[in-house]
């Protein structure tokens, strides 16, 4: 069998140092890592177990925002009363992700590091070409089965979709990822594939996600996460939208709007064009639907995923109008 070392980290600092060595990977909930090891994609030499570390699983919600430790479980965050009331889109994104069993194991830090579900990426024995797995080897997905692939943010090297839900909500509300002392917008933490699809996150060797911080805002308080898919549960999004809305005192003019898309792009996709088109405007259905079309500006399909270009603006519009109705 393929041997690897298992190291139980004694502190976050020790974990960071151990994980900096070549071939080392951090192990928290294991729901992604063990899956990828089984399909032959992840082949770590050393697993650095951080799942037991104290103090990294705290969920703190104050006036300025929420700070969620990297080891907090998806299920705990989804159920947290203050997260539900102040950041409903975050809670909704989490409980619509994965299954109850996975949410009970998976951590928030691990969730940010989730890899694509591209079937070509996940099957090295049958598809040797994958720039994400093996830089320079090519892309098996282009010209193949592309129903689940990205229409936004893709490159000639990679069209793999970012499959997660939580980060879509985080990007909408300008959340910040803590890499120890270093702070980074979640939007900047996720990288476009470009020429280097193997590099998915702006994280350096020796760095570890320690927490995420979500600033409070009126838009975050009045927010929702709408996920559309063929199966009612336990499926990745065909298209999803995290939307937050703040209205002026008149109850109909849009003061602040946050829109991010999931299921359609190579990373969590902030749709600022939609936000800019509607801010300062009166919230009414035709204007919302027209502006929502801007969400897929520049989208390129690969045939079977064309429906995403039709679908995503409708998901955005529905989410905005739903929040408007709740006035």
């Amino acid at each position: 069998m393929r041997d690897f070392s298992y190291l139980r980290a004694t502190s976050a600092e020790a974990a960071r140092q151990a994980a900096a060595l070549p071939g080392a990977m951090l192990l928290a909930g294991g729901t992604t890592l063990i899956d990828l090891a089984k399909c032959g994609v992840a082949q770590p030499d050393t697993l650095v177990d951080i799942s037991h570390l104290k103090g990294l699983d705290r969920i703190e919600v104050g006036e300025r925002g929420a700070t969620i430790g990297a080891l907090a479980r998806m299920g705990h965050v989804a159920d947290h009363a203050d997260i539900k009331s102040r950041f409903p889109a975050v809670s909704e994104a989490l409980w619509q992700a994965a299954s109850a069993q996975i949410r009970n194991m998976a951590t928030i830090g691990g969730n940010l590091m989730q890899r694509t579900r591209c079937p070509y990426f996940r099957d090295p024995s049958n598809f040797s070409a994958c720039n994400k797995r093996e830089p320079g080897s090519g892309c098996s997905a282009i010209g193949g089965v592309t129903r689940g692939h990205a229409v936004l943010g893709a490159s000639e090297a990679c069209i793999a979709m970012y499959p997660g839900d939580l980060a879509v909500a985080l990007v909408a509300f300008d959340a910040i990822v803590h890499l120890g002392e270093r702070r980074l917008l979640v939007d900047d933490f996720f990288l476009l594939p470009g020429e280097t699809p193997d590099r998915e996150h702006a994280i350096e060797p020796g760095e570890m996600v320690t927490a995420i911080e979500i600033p409070s805002s009126a838009a975050a308080r009045r927010s929702t996460y709408l996920k559309v898919r063929d199966r009612q549960s336990y499926e990745f999004a065909a298209a999803s939208a995290a939307v937050g809305l703040e209205l002026e005192a008149d109850g109909r003019t849009i003061r602040d709007l946050r829109v991010a898309l999931g299921g359609v792009a190579t990373k969590p996709w902030r749709a600022r064009a939609v936000e800019d088109a509607l801010k300062g405007k009166v919230l009414e259905p035709d204007a919302v639907r027209a502006a929502s079309l801007l969400a897929v500006e520049g989208a390129v399909d690969h045939g079977a995923n064309h429906y995403k270009i039709e679908l995503a603006p409708r998901v955005v519009a529905r989410a905005i109008l739903k929040l408007g109705d709740a006035a």
């Binding site: 089965v145 063929d230 549960s233 499926e235 065909a238 679908l311 998901v315």
Partner: protein, 764 residues
């Protein structure tokens, strides 16, 4: 999920423990607590583990296999290739056709599909085997593959003359019909996806082979293993007490079994080999992809004048699978003119196999969609048009139905569903963003009959033991055979122990085609009657019996006690009687074979399907029937379809245990929802390979996808179909669900989807 159930006449209204009662599954506690030990959970001394290496091309030849690295890997005992695995003999097929006299190699040199087994690693642990399998280097000479039915190289295929069904002059009648519709209906590759993947432990002791393997057919698989290894049939023992889902996929011995048993023989140690989840999509066949065209000529009154049906299904390059696509088309509606023909097309895929209601399932999708299209064309209610074309006899066999409670099913289902409140126009029912649609479709499945064998023992403590090599894959065999023996002998079901899933027990044919319950209740009834006769005979005639002096002609056994019919004389327990006459048990083996059957007949009956009785034998045509009423909600913007209500009325004749029958019906309906909305094997056309070969990407319904399901039994006992009056249960309910949903989607949206599954991009 909330599930409401009602049961009709066929539930008999009897005690739970008797035949027809609602006894809960007797094997339930063992499964829920984990006490039930599945095939590959056996612990054996010296067990080795196997891992398969599969082809990564769909067509061509293996040029070379480099095993150097794999052989050097830790724990590896043997790397098997086509050159190094022991040679086997070709086995007969499931009809018992004598095989060609040539060797059989379960590892392939000639590649005809992606995922074909080309090598295997046997090692000391599972992890060692898997790691070493990744080190086997296979090189190929690749040739172009025929990817699927739509491949330009696929051609029209091979006509299967045996599938042709014709009467009247269908072409002319269609040409002159006032109303004509014609449409093509397609179903994709679908997969059984059982929770328990295929796998086995093979263990040789001399020339005797024991195989622990989930099996829907112990005696058939034992025959194949015996023929492969050229040992007597009696030398092979199959053991399969529990099965984690089969759905048709576990009835035959497959090539991975030959690899494991061959390795065990070569190495002189037991070998365990379990398929990975991706291998369950390529190591054996799911439901074949199908194409059908259905043309119907009718009057303006909706009365059918002609049906012309053409079907095609995929098969493999070197195997033959026929999915009978005209099976429902030819019997559901009365028509004076009919023509159905079918071709099969060879493609580079594993040979397709049986999956819940093979034939009837896709056949119903065609005809039950087409008649819905006709209903809209002529402006007649979809339920009414089915009644106007009701077949009063089998239109193909021209025989009376044994029983056909389909009219009753339509009536009961429509009443319960509230069909009369349906507004006919598409897009006429709405709730906010949801378009609401109501659809109806019928289903049917033939009654497949065969002969069975069982042993019944009445033991010294008064308990009863039943033995049979038939199996329980969740459908309830353990339970209904306990009920049958309990009622027949006159004891409580708690005092009956049923032993199944061991080929050393009295033989049984395949558990497939919804035949087992009818076959085995008949066999157990016969054996139990024989045991009871012996018991009563002893009680009357043995000089030591307390009843001896009574000089009775007969005695009654009830609740485990024996007494005279009128109550005079003694009243003793079975245990007391056996003790008094000095017997420690009574044993009877019974079978339902014709009286003059030879040993060869019996062997053939239990190890092939050649002796199944035609469902149109004699004066009657025997089938189960059902009517499904479905409500869907389609999000107008997103195209997502959710089934929000199902009411199905079903005629499976008499139900031996309504609780278990309802459970199987609901299972079929749930599987049909998956077929209609989610399931599809997606092929990469460049590689000829399924890419969604796992349960995250091949979608089956979750509980959240399943609404209220109400099932209503409208069956009546049908003694032409089985000894105790039941007809088939397990496959019936999936038949017709997909067209009922597609019809409801049309009613909701005005869009007719003729290609399954109905995914959102087809509706936005």
């Amino acid at each position: 999920m909330t599930v409401h159930t009602r049961h009709g006449d066929a539930s008999d209204g009897v005690l739970a423990e008797a035949v027809g009662g609602r006894l809960s599954r007797v094997d339930g506690p063992a499964k829920i607590t984990g006490a039930a030990r599945y095939a590959v959970e056996q612990q054996l001394e010296g067990l080795l583990y196997g891992a398969l290496v599969e082809s990564t091309i769909a067509a061509g030849k293996v040029r070379a296999i480099d095993v150097t690295q794999a052989e050097a890997a830790p724990g590896v005992v043997k790397v098997l290739t086509p050159d190094t695995i022991m040679s086997l003999r070709t086995a007969s097929d499931w009809f018992g056709t004598p095989p060609p006299d040539k060797p059989y190699c379960p590892l392939a040199r000639d590649i005809t599909f992606s995922g074909q087994h080309v090598a295997a690693v046997i090692a000391g642990t599972f992890e060692q085997a898997v790691a070493a399998a990744a080190l086997v280097k296979v090189s190929y000479d690749e040739t172009p593959a025929i990817v699927d039915l739509s491949d330009g190289k696929a051609g029209d295929g091979i006509p299967i003359d045996a599938m042709t069904k014709e009467w009247g002059d269908a072409a002319s009648a269609f040409a002159s019909a006032p109303v004509r519709i014609c449409a093509a209906y397609n179903t994709p590759r679908e997969y059984q996806a059982p929770m328990e993947p295929h796998g086995l432990i093979a263990h040789w002791q001399g020339d005797h082979l024991t195989v622990w393997e989930p099996s829907q057919w112990l005696d058939g698989m034992a025959r194949t293993y015996a023929e492969w290894f050229e040992v007597p049939f009696e030398n092979v023992r199959l053991v399969s007490p529990y099965i984690g889902g089969g759905f048709g996929s576990k009835a035959l011995a497959l090539s991975h079994g030959a690899v494991a048993a061959g390795a065990a023989r070569m190495l002189g140690r037991p070998v365990r080999l379990v398929m990975t989840r991706p291998q369950t999509f390529t190591g054996y066949g799911g439901r074949a992809a199908t194409r059908q065209t259905v043309t119907i000529g009718a009057g303006h009154d909706g009365v059918i004048q002609s049906i012309v049906h053409r079907g095609v299904n995929e098969t493999s390059i070197d195997g033959m699978w026929v999915e009978p696509l005209g099976s429902v088309t030819s019997i559901m509606y009365a028509t004076p003119n009919f023509s159905s023909k079918q071709n099969v097309v060879r493609v580079n895929s594993v040979v397709p196999g049986a999956m819940r209601a093979p034939g009837e399932n896709p056949s119903a999708f065609g005809i039950e969609s087409a008649i819905d299209e006709l209903a809209y064309e002529v402006g007649i209610d979809p339920l009414e048009i089915r009644l106007r074309n009701y077949a009063e006899q089998d239109p193909h066999a021209k025989k009376a139905w044994s029983t056909r409670q389909l009219r009753e099913a339509f009536a009961a289902g429509a009443e319960r569903f509230g069909w009369a409140r349906r507004t006919p126009q598409p897009r006429s029912m709405r709730d906010g963003n949801h378009l609401i649609g109501w659809g109806v479709a019928a289903g049917t499945y033939p009654v497949r009959r065969a002969y069975g064998e069982a042993r019944v023992r009445i033991l010294a403590d008064g308990s009863v033991e039943v033995e049979s090599s038939s199996i329980d894959m969740g459908q309830g065999t353990y339970t209904i055979l306990a009920q049958t023996a309990a009622e027949t002998v006159g004891v409580s079901a708690d005092d009956v122990v049923v032993k199944l899933g061991d080929s050393r027990f009295p033989r049984a044919g395949v558990t497939g085609g919804s035949r087992l319950a009818g076959v085995m209740t008949g066999a157990v009834y016969k054996a139990a009657t024989s045991a009871l006769d012996q018991l009563v005979g002893l009680a009357i005639s043995d000089p030591r019996s307390p009843f001896h002096a009574l000089q009775a002609n007969t005695l009654v056994v009830a609740n485990g006690r024996i007494a005279s019919p009128r109550g005079e004389g003694p009243d003793v327990s079975i245990a007391e009687l056996l003790k008094s006459v000095g017997r420690d048990q009574i044993e009877a083996t019974g079978d339902t074979m014709p009286a003059n059957s030879t040993a060869e007949d019996r062997y053939k009956n239990y190890t092939t399907i050649a002796m199944s009785l035609p469902h149109t034998e004699g004066d009657y045509s025997r089938h189960s029937w059902c009517a499904h009423f479905v409500e869907v909600r389609v999000d107008e913007d997103f195209g997502t379809v959710r089934v929000s209500r199902v009411v199905s009325a079903l005629d499976s004749g008499r139900l031996y245990n309504p609780k278990l029958a309802e459970s199987q019906w609901k299972g079929g309906i749930i599987m049909g929802i998956g077929q209609a909305l989610l399931e599809e094997g997606i092929v990469d056309r460049r590689h000829g390979r399924i890419v969604n070969d796992n349960l995250a990407d091949y979608l089956v319904p979750t509980n959240a996808d399943i609404p209220d399901i109400e099932v209503i039994s409208v069956g009546i006992p049908d003694l032409h179909s089985s000894a105790l009056g039941g007809k088939g249960v397990g496959e019936l309910a999936i038949v017709g669900i997909a067209p009922a949903i597609a019809n409801a989607v049309f009613h909701a949206t005005g869009k007719r989807v003729r290609d399954l599954p109905i995914t959102l991009e087809k509706l936005i």
